[in-house]
Assembly symmetry: D3
Homo-oligomer: 284 residues x 6
């Protein structure tokens, strides 16, 4: 297994890796952040504030105490080395899948989704990705760099093939990104619940990986993020969306771009922790 | 009268206790807070920011200037002594009721509702409680303590009898609390306006005490609170709910768990102050 | 032209004043603020955070890069001298209109709208004003002062004549202000999208000036403002409202009362910047 | 007496105006602030945090409880009207002196010192001023305005005559201000304790008015101020300076430029409150 | 052993309790706080920020890596139950001493020192206490309560006997407290390094317990504390003081009143963590 | 010239590059930050707050208005690409030296000093570096990465040769770093003014490059930095140190690790801006 460091753990997580289906792992990388870095502290703070929540979910009438899930800690990443960091994240993904786990990655910046999807796709050839975000993340490069939080879904889409990425809540991007989306992805501009309802109702058996950039939620609800974009959904909406996903064959999930440093109330990390709780209960 | 200290007062409050029906009183206790203490400063800051609002309510077309209401200040409580603090709060409740007042208590933590309800119930034997909260507050004990913000509605319910507590907006609790609720209270999970509409439409004459934990509102609107729980209602919703209550025979109200220290914008205290204004105008 | 100072500029703004129809100009005045001053820093911070947004708007499928618009910088105002400041703002308005521009003023406090409307009305005799605000701003005087952020729409209304001011989202004011509104303005209490839909559908050709006090939005979405009033609309709503305005003959706009100092997330300034982007794209 | 408003009062202040020598009064004006306004909230917050201190001073072995001093509240000032505001402050000064009081003014911006000194000088013709500040405040005008926080000591000096103003701790200003100082004031650049020691040791009987701009202290100790200037003295130093002043014939004092909004710890207001306590104990 | 909970641990702490002489333990109690509660989060945040420091101390030329020391986690305390909490803290103290450990307690409020000293005194009959604080903490009661952060050193002194408590840096208290100190303790008003130098130079063999209230340091250096008192020492001073203590027979230490919630920079917790590091290196 | 972007500029900077000796340039890189990233915003905020200072320095009796100095803006860096970023910074250094300029670099993280020194050393073969910092920055690698803010002075030292780096104020590092320092650099542990006084008094003609990590100053004075280390010098000390440097043949300077996001008062950026002002006045 890739080397991790582990201090605080997610509330109620088990000591038994083998018996756990869901495995939480932090990818504390934010080197390509463009507006405000600091999401590297996301995983640690999400774990810490998780103790402010209950282990029981009234939404699902399920209790974390009835399940085993493991918190692997944070992958140790070399500060500033993007390529090596992505390699270690991908390696972690491969290892978890090899062990039959359902990974729950905590970002960190959105670029971490790329190596995870690479690992996922090698196991699930017909993988599709459900992408919740304020931003399209479909640039070809960003100030000359191909490896960027702003390009991640472009390369995910190229990896999986056309129309394999479903994008929800998108409200920001360049003209080129939206043109790319028309041809290559399924994008629902500024919409979440409605298209999701239709998709869930008629989904086939293809495995789904979920990537939630917390900035899909309006900065009123999630101010602690690197590139806040006013005009998003509410915390109720994203919780509802996650619960709807429970009816799909989910094989992994990431929750990224939580930047605790600029949210004194920590409601962004709390929302992320709540999504993790619901994911553990829904996907196992 | 129990000893109080009085510095800043609520905007437009009268100097004439005798002529006032509504009496505002602070209960600055937060000793059993579990996640983040500091709600003891709630009453003082709610008063201070109240001057940023108008005395006229366009919602009700009524003006505070046309009414007498009194601000008693804060009850002096011995820091750290829970039992004595609850005694003083209860004594204050008895005194106000004896004088024919409609008390408006400002917390402080939610546990203050228990002694108030005790006083209320001794005057109004058929009292019911309308409880707005993110949390069920129905535990039997919390880390061994029966007197806790997390147990308050359990003991209120036991005091008043089964199905006398109506709970709105609840979205967090243990499995046991929700099971208790099924048998002993009327709980509307994650709902406020809809059930309230039905209740108000067909209410009998039983007197109603209202307890509003500000965390029923989403932390986007009320970040200044001790145990924020993403996924709540908006400030519009809670204002609307309070206005609907004006059609019931309200005999008292508390607004609790405002924690000013972690809300630089003070919009949590402002929302509480606005609820106080509407309560004074609605309930007298 | 009135003297301005110019440091950071709005994203993508042109260097060619002559070719630009829309001109952004800051009016960094907050001397009559009553609760919390500091909106003088609004224009500068709105410009700075604008770089966190994209130049393309998916809402309108238009790109700032396809248009010329100019950022004039901030008008240099003598700190504390209200009369002279208003004179300079009015002079700027006259000059811009003389040059055939569509002005986009950034406040600063709301009082800046008065001299702008004066300039506007001298060019457009049948001008009407669309006013988005939490507060009526219809007082005759405020603590003895006629020139105040709390009186601005009263004097705008007296200047333009009865029923020329349309007020949206209003939820705070004195009894007298609401009585004044009944006779002299068109006020939609606590409503925005509905009345706007009707007005837009049947509008005649009269020119419209738009004045947006950011506090029309709930403090959850716009905490950085001087007199926050809980119970407002969402950021989605105000964006939607602005997009609807694109179907009217808009001749100018101001966005006021952004107070960056108390909003660490800067989502208030980001929302204002987004409104500026949409305004540039919609009104030219 | 000029009209005041009074809500929270300074700790331990008396209800008996007549028996009080020291009178605390707030002048909540900040209209000419240039960098960051908000000092208008200084007086109110200084009073509020004063309860976090003790009434006994171990430095002087004296107790506030052994003395009468009165808190008059804040002078009601018309927002944005500089001239009228200065008139009311001056009128308050005259009234207090007529009643034989030693005034303790709380700012608000530094310009408030000018009308106070005018009142002082009319009673004490040989008045001198001890001025503690990071800034010289000796400009002739500021962006065309003579009435400004940046000009106040120039006009105080012109009013009292050459070499009647003693300036301590100054470390910022224009070249012209420092040249003016050489001829017209006694300025101790970047020094406080040393020159004060010498002056106190050999002082004649001339009455002294003290004006403390809190930014004389380094922003590490007093971050809550409008124009912070790194490189200042410590809180220990300014307390020591105030204690040394007790050996002079002090006839009044002001403490200005406390801006609470940007100091979450409120240590700036606490320092000001401590200086008020020491002043009451030292000067009566 | 008393029950503890353990999540994040202090940097470099050992897994081997038996081989460790120094044992770090958190006492997250703040129920008797009077001004601002929240120090219960102190221990957890001190541990978390400790990773921002190095394990080597250039002051002592020693490295944590060369020593075993254990982090026991936080004692589980019943929120709001003062008496039971003090019992558990005392029990922990007894247990650690029984095992031959040198305890390093992290507060929490200052009252925790009383049960620790009780345990200490039962093992070391000639124990003396070195107390660093802004406040005398020598009241007989505080608003009627004997068990209070404001009374703790009074009862420590009564427990140990006259002149067994040495108090450094004190600059706040009631007249009565300072009078008590004259007879019953050794108090160095507003002084630290000088008296400490003399004491250390001629100390006999009596065992010393050290209690550091972080507010002995000026709020510029330690803003995150419940009752900040301007006029304190620098961080350099307190580090120097701790290093001087290494020449005494220290048998235990506590560092209390760190309140992380109001210190965004976390420099208060960082200073406490640095003191813990130096203590581990100096006292073992 | 390397491509830069330029929005706000440093106060009073000239439009004439050719006539300017000092050239300010931002290097907004923070990709290898380990504890808290965000210093990339340092240059922009230092420029913005510079307007809160005066252009005249009373310390030197010199005025920025009497000199030409140019602000080149920020070097455009590819987010997350360390090697390319360092290349662009070095190229900028070479270009500025080729044009005969004295560069004033604003960080950004400390690693930027390495490429600058490379450029410097190619022009000045006998270059020495004066390094002010809390941390030794002498590691060989950091979590496997050689290019790191924690290794920068090691590679500077290897580049220039033994004993060419003078280190002031150092108080943190690993044992290995301090051992390296003994052999290869001139380190003054926890000292600044004293050793500097001696060096300046007897300096030969060797050219000196100055590198100031703002964390050499105590976090009380400079809380806005990535790895704050309690126990540092005051803002007065670092200003004094910079003034002393004016007597040496300075050929360039950088001021790094200003992290504005976590310093609401912006006193860290203000201190940096003041150092830039003094540097411009001292070194040209």
């Amino acid at each position: 297994m890739v080397q991790t460091e582990k201090n605080a753990v997610f509330m109620g997580s088990s000591n038994d890796y083998d018996k756990s289906k869901c495995v939480i792992v932090g990818a504390p990388m934010d080197f390509t952040a463009s507006f405000r870095p600091g999401s590297r502290n996301g995983p640690q703070v999400i774990r810490m504030v998780s103790t402010g929540l209950e282990e029981y979910s009234v939404y699902q009438d399920k209790d974390l105490m009835d399940h085993n899930y493991y918190d692997l800690g944070d992958i140790i990443l070399p500060f500033g080395n993007v390529t090596e960091s992505l390699n270690r994240i991908e390696a972690t993904g491969h290892k978890l899948l090899e062990h039959g786990k359902l990974p729950i990655f905590l970002g960190g910046e959105h670029l971490i989704s790329l190596p995870i999807v690479k690992a996922m796709a090698s196991k699930y050839p017909d993988l599709v990705v459900f992408h919740f975000d304020a931003h399209a993340d479909l640039r070809r490069d960003y100030i000359g760099e191909k490896q960027s939080h702003a390009t991640v879904m472009r390369y995910v889409s190229e990896l999986l093939g056309d129309k394999k990425v479903y994008q929800f809540g998108i409200r920001s991007g360049t003209k080129e990104e939206f043109e790319y989306a028309k041809e290559h992805t399924n994008m629902y501009v500024d919409q979440i619940i409605e298209p999701l309802t239709q998709l869930v109702a008629s989904w086939d058996s293809r495995p789904v990986y979920v990537s939630i950039d917390i900035d899909v939620v309006d900065p009123a609800y999630a101010p602690g993020t690197g590139t806040p974009e006013p005009g998003g959904c509410s915390s109720k909406d994203i919780i509802k969306a996650l619960l709807m996903l429970s009816r799909l064959p989910i094989v992994g999930i990431d929750i990224v771009e939580v930047l605790p440093m600029i949210d004194q109330s920590q409601r962004t990390a709390l929302l992320a922790a709540k999504l993790v709780r619901e994911a553990v209960l829904a996907f196992k």
